[in-house]
């Protein structure tokens, strides 16, 4: 099946006159693990909240599992697991009461898997949610989201505030879920190594726009960084398109280019640099280059 589980069409969102999302278009096919990246306040959580119908868009449309976000039925909701940023659970409830509420409201509940999760995480049933640590709240939130066997799992910065061990446990679980057929995950995070580990497609939000939207491997292949040293002073313009970032210092230029290809390589050759070294780029390097404030607007990757 090649249908899109998540569809965002020309999404615009303003908060108090400030444009947070500026014409976002996004499609996530079934079975994809999509890593949504961006700096603080770049609009990651806003997209997720609009997708779930928790926030109205200013303009544009969003769809989850074929249904418009503003009118998601209970049946569609029953196929979506959601772990919210900050794990907003009902603070004055005990763990046991919250679990019972979620179970009673769910149309499908995998008791066996949920028991396995609560035993793994050792969740104290009689303690109030407000008294749990952030890590335990994250584990409870993930357990509740997974217990319904969701077709689509939306994780909004789920590992925020977790220690290394809890984060690893959390990711292992997510990877387990990925192993199950046709599960789709939308995963937003600040921890790029986590995203790099599980995502197969990446979106980067910067300046209200989705500046990158492609497969992780493709991103790594298409964004290249070079250090060029020229015999005399470095030329001011290399006449290359899709320059993500460029720093000139004396005879040296450090340049990051999107959609690297042979034409661009040939164009660079005409300037006859005395040395041209390709610098290896991790996802973190690409992310930093793409989200620099002084970067010219990127062509869609």
């Amino acid at each position: 099946m090649n249908e899109n589980v998540i569809e965002v069409e020309n999404l615009v969102k303003y908060f108090d006159g400030r444009c947070v999302l500026d014409g976002i278009n996004l499609k996530v096919p079934r079975g994809c693990i999509y890593g949504l990246l961006g700096r603080n306040a770049s609009g990651k959580t806003t997209i997720i909240r609009i997708l779930l119908g928790l926030e109205p868009p200013t303009r544009g449309q969003t769809f989850l599992l074929g249904a418009e976000s503003a009118n998601l039925s209970a049946k569609v909701h029953s196929r979506i697991g959601y772990v919210a940023e900050g794990h907003n659970l009902i603070q004055n409830y005990t763990v046991g009461r919250l679990i019972k509420l979620c179970k009673d409201l769910s149309l499908h509940w995998n008791d066996k898997f949920f028991e396995h999760l609560t035993e793994t995480f050792r969740l104290p049933m009689d303690r109030r949610i407000g008294q749990l640590s952030i890590g335990m709240r994250a584990q409870l939130n993930l357990s509740l989201a997974l217990a319904i066997d969701p077709e689509l799992l939306i994780l909004d910065d789920p590992t925020l505030g977790l220690d290394t061990v809890a984060r690893r446990q959390f990711l292992e679980l997510a990877i387990d879920l990925i192993g199950q057929q046709n599960r789709t995950i939308l995963f937003s995070s600040h921890i790029l190594s986590d995203v790099e580990r599980i995502a197969d497609r990446i979106g980067i939000l910067a300046g209200g726009k989705l500046v990158v939207d492609c497969a992780l491997e493709e991103l790594k292949n298409r964004v290249k960084k070079f250090r060029l040293i020229f015999p005399e002073s470095a030329p001011e313009n290399l006449y290359l398109t899709e320059i993500v970032n460029q720093e000139i210092e004396g005879r040296e230029i450090a340049i990051t280019v999107a959609n690297w290809n042979q034409q661009k390589q040939a164009m660079l050759g005409t300037f006859q640099p005395s040395s041209c070294t390709e610098l290896p780029m991790s996802l973190e390097d690409i992310f930093i280059e793409c989200t620099k404030p002084d970067v010219a607007p990127l062509a869609h990757l």
């Binding site: 928790l54 109205p56 209970a74 049946k75 909701h77 409201l105």
Partner: protein
């Protein structure tokens, strides 16, 4: 839906207990007054008792509505529930049903008691048979109208306007009943007001970011 109603009742059990306690106190007072009236062979004029009761109900139930909405907003309960297989519409309906049940908890026992003790509590003048039912309907609608205003107040980010509107309504409703009495005119006005309030609450609740 039953789970959502149960959750609302459990979270606001204090109002249900308050309604039951108020009702019980009034029943005990009515029975003792009726018993005394039987011994003295004098009827009791119960109008004096009904005014403070109406005032308590008119203050208590808007407080419940406001508390339901304010707690939800403050603790992001609907935001959490909306991520489960529950629509906002159902959350609101369950909330309103819980409010109606709380009002009925206070009024139904009182109405039954009044019906049973009517010959002893009423003045010795002829009254039409449907008076207690009309009283029940009017008081229920009045308290429910105030409860709806409480819901609006609790959900609004600015509390001043809805609170002032609530107070104004209370000052209008009580003289309205005093002038028009318990009957069709009052019922129609209250129903229109309730419909308008419910439409506004629905529109606000469905469109606000959670």
């Amino acid at each position: 839906m039953f789970t959502l109603i149960k959750r609302e009742i459990e979270d606001h059990i204090a109002y249900f207990l308050g309604a039951a306690i108020l009702s019980s106190i009034l029943i005990v007072l009515s029975i003792s007054a009726a018993y005394k009236a039987k011994l003295d062979e004098h009827p009791v004029y119960s109008i004096g008792l009904s005014i403070p009761v109406i005032v308590i109900l008119v203050i208590g139930f808007p407080a419940m509505g406001a508390s339901q909405m304010y707690t939800d907003r403050n603790r992001k309960i609907s935001a959490f529930l909306s991520a489960l297989p529950v629509t906002r519409g159902r959350i609101l309906i369950a909330r309103i049903i819980a409010g109606i049940l709380a009002i009925l908890t206070a009024l139904v026992p009182l109405t039954i008691t009044a019906t049973v003790l009517r010959p002893l509590l009423m003045p010795p003048v002829p009254i039409y048979p449907g008076l207690i039912f009309d009283m029940f309907v009017t008081v229920f609608l009045m308290v429910f109208a105030c409860y709806c205003l409480g819901l609006l107040t609790g959900w609004a980010s600015s509390k001043v306007t809805p609170t002032l509107a609530g107070l104004a309504l209370t000052f209008v409703l009580i003289p309205l009943i005093a002038v028009k009495g318990f009957g069709l005119h009052t019922t129609v006005i209250l129903i229109l007001f309730i419909i308008a309030s419910l439409i506004r609450i629905r529109q606000k609740f469905m469109s606000t970011a959670l």
